[in-house]
């Protein structure tokens, strides 16, 4: 089973690399270097802050865009190209293994991409700050949270890919990412409602993915430490929520008639 999962995952990674996904690294490098020089000249006293904000935002947004645009095609593309039938019929691969393999493959792609960006990002921070201190450890936490974001959005994109067309899947995925950034506000609004509305709103607020607590970029830009408890809780949340989304994906995919 592990071998089959690895084979699908590695194949997904290889396909993504073949699709020139890693070209975004060049854009990232240009962005970081350009912004460091530009903001140093036209702004006031925020060189390091802008570098951290821009670097981490770019790592996050680039990854989310890649996760959505590749994730939405992971299943539907295989169906369109009819390669899925070959995989599932000719090889001893179960449907859930296919979904899980695709998921891990894309997460691996995004992780490699983010790690390469992080190397460039830390080099730029080192250059601007003339050294790295203990407080810069919070930057690592922020990158870890960004990876958790990728895990969530990949699972969601994959879910939509199991039952919808790529265009609609991408719309759904972007929409749910946007709604997820308002998760904390939604819970606040739900508290203000009464009766049945409150029940429905509270349910919806807890059902949408909580992207809000995974974004600590603003915090770490000012060297504010991230609570270890938040790291633990966010990790557990992403593991549980992703498992739920993947379960839903497998469930839908198992019920699909692929003939």
């Amino acid at each position: 089973m592990i071998g089959r999962l690895w084979a699908i995952a590695f194949n997904t990674f290889r396909e993504a690399v073949r699709d020139r996904v890693l070209y975004n690294l060049i854009l990232f490098a240009l962005l970081i270097v350009g912004a460091s020089v530009l903001f140093g000249q036209i702004s006031l006293d925020i060189n390091r802050i802008v570098l951290i904000n821009l670097g981490l935002t770019a790592i996050s947004l680039f990854g989310i865009v890649i996760a959505i645009f590749i994730g939405i095609g992971l299943v539907s593309k295989e169906i369109d190209k009819r390669t899925l039938y070959t995989v599932l019929a000719a090889r001893p691969v179960r449907r859930w293994e296919f979904i899980a393999g695709k998921f891990f493959g894309l997460v691996m792609t995004l992780t490699v991409n983010a790690l390469l960006m992080s190397v460039g990002f830390f080099a730029a921070v080192l250059y601007v700050s003339h050294g790295l201190g203990r407080s810069d450890l919070s930057l690592v936490t922020a990158i870890y949270f960004i990876l958790l974001e990728f895990v969530l959005i990949t699972a969601l994109a994959l879910l939509f890919s199991t039952f919808s067309t790529p265009i609609f899947s991408s719309i759904f995925a972007f929409a749910i990412f946007a709604v997820g950034t308002f998760a904390e506000d939604m819970r606040g609004f739900a508290q203000m409602a009464h009766g049945f509305t409150r029940w429905v709103m509270t349910g919806a607020a807890y059902l949408v993915p909580n992207f809000a607590s995974l974004n600590v970029i603003g915090q770490v830009a000012h060297s504010v430490r991230v609570e270890p408890r938040l790291i633990l809780l966010n990790t557990l949340y992403v593991v549980v929520y992703t498992a739920a989304v993947l379960t839903a994906s497998v469930w839908i995919f198992e019920r699909r008639n692929l003939k």
Partner: protein, 314 residues
């Protein structure tokens, strides 16, 4: 040159020519619209809406808005503008997007407070901005320092300035000079008891000999102010009761208003000149505001406090 290379070169040249042409056209358009009031427009006036629209990436947007503030201020300043219409809203936007962006409060308040054409000439807005910064960053002692200066130099409100320095002095890591400023300004505001309390605190809590000497000097002067005030009240009371001015301290002692001839902290006698209480040697008390001979200006003015209270001058 092979045919293929010729085709590739032609494409490259055509592309370069078209891009150059489009750049020229953009320049023409810019020239045509150079008078457009784009600088004075906030496309989305609500900081909260912009924050919501940022999808969590508000830090980067704040940096961009801060850069816009710097550019806007720079252009207006260069043009010697009398009005900075969107400076305050831009700063509000920046600090709502990133409430911890300290340079925006520190430099922004300077931009707002300075008189035109150096700045917007709106010190009240500057004070509001820094108060917002303090609410969001209560541990940033430099913001209290900035606020103190705005109240002191721009709004001429020594009491509020003293309060700002005093609040800031309680923040961990604040420069000891903050307490000096608070005490000096409290004295200037006429709140002598507060100043005595703060200078005594400084005296008891510092090992710095210069700072201690300055605190002692200040306390002596405050004591003079306090004693002159009390003595003057007794003199006025004597005048009211007897219908004439006292000729010497002996008159007040005889009438039971004083127990003995009053001495200043340096053991010189207080002088009674035409019903007014004065110190004998005013030069020994450089910061007193009461008991000065006629014609002597008050020395405890803001600029003087600043000059004498800086750590290097203590």
């Amino acid at each position: 040159m092979t045919r293929n290379l010729r085709i590739q070169t032609s494409y490259a040249l055509l592309l370069a020519a078209l891009l150059a042409l489009s750049s020229l056209l953009v320049r023409q358009v810019d020239r045509l619209r150079s008078d457009e009031p784009l600088q004075e427009v906030l496309y989305i006036p609500s900081p909260k809406v912009v924050k919501r629209m940022s999808l969590g990436y508000s830090g980067l947007l704040a940096d961009i808005y801060w850069t816009r503030v710097v550019q806007y201020f720079g252009e207006k300043h260069k043009a010697k503008a009398k009005q900075y219409l969107i400076l305050e809203p831009l700063l509000d936007m920046t600090t709502t997007l990133d409430p911890n962006l300290l340079p925006a409060y520190e430099f922004g308040s300077v931009f707002l407070a300075q008189k035109p054409p150096e700045g917007a000439g709106d010190p009240a807005a500057a004070a509001r901005l820094v108060e917002k910064g303090i609410r969001e960053n209560p541990q940033a002692w430099r913001l209290y320092y900035d606020l103190g200066y705005i109240y002191w130099l721009e709004l001429k409100d020594s009491a509020k300035a003293s309060d700002a320095f005093e609040r800031g002095s309680k923040v961990t890591g604040a420069h000891p000079w903050m307490r000096v400023m608070a005490a000096a300004l409290a004295a200037h505001a006429g709140e002598t008891e507060t100043a005595i309390y703060m200078w005594t605190n400084i005296l008891n809590s510092t090992e710095d000999q210069d700072l201690r000497a300055n605190a002692l000097n200040r306390l002596r002067c405050l004591r003079v102010d306090s004693e002159v005030k009390t003595l003057q009240e007794r003199v006025d009371l004597f005048t009211k009761q007897t219908g004439h001015l006292p000729s010497s301290w002996q008159d007040l002692i005889s009438s039971g208003l004083l127990r003995s001839t009053p001495l200043d902290p340096k053991n010189y006698r207080y002088q009674l000149v035409a019903g007014h209480v004065q110190v004998e040697k005013p030069d020994l008390f450089p910061f007193i505001t009461k008991g000065l001979p006629p014609g002597r200006e008050l020395k405890d003015m803001p600029g003087e406090v600043h000059a004498t209270a800086t750590p290097s001058a203590l």
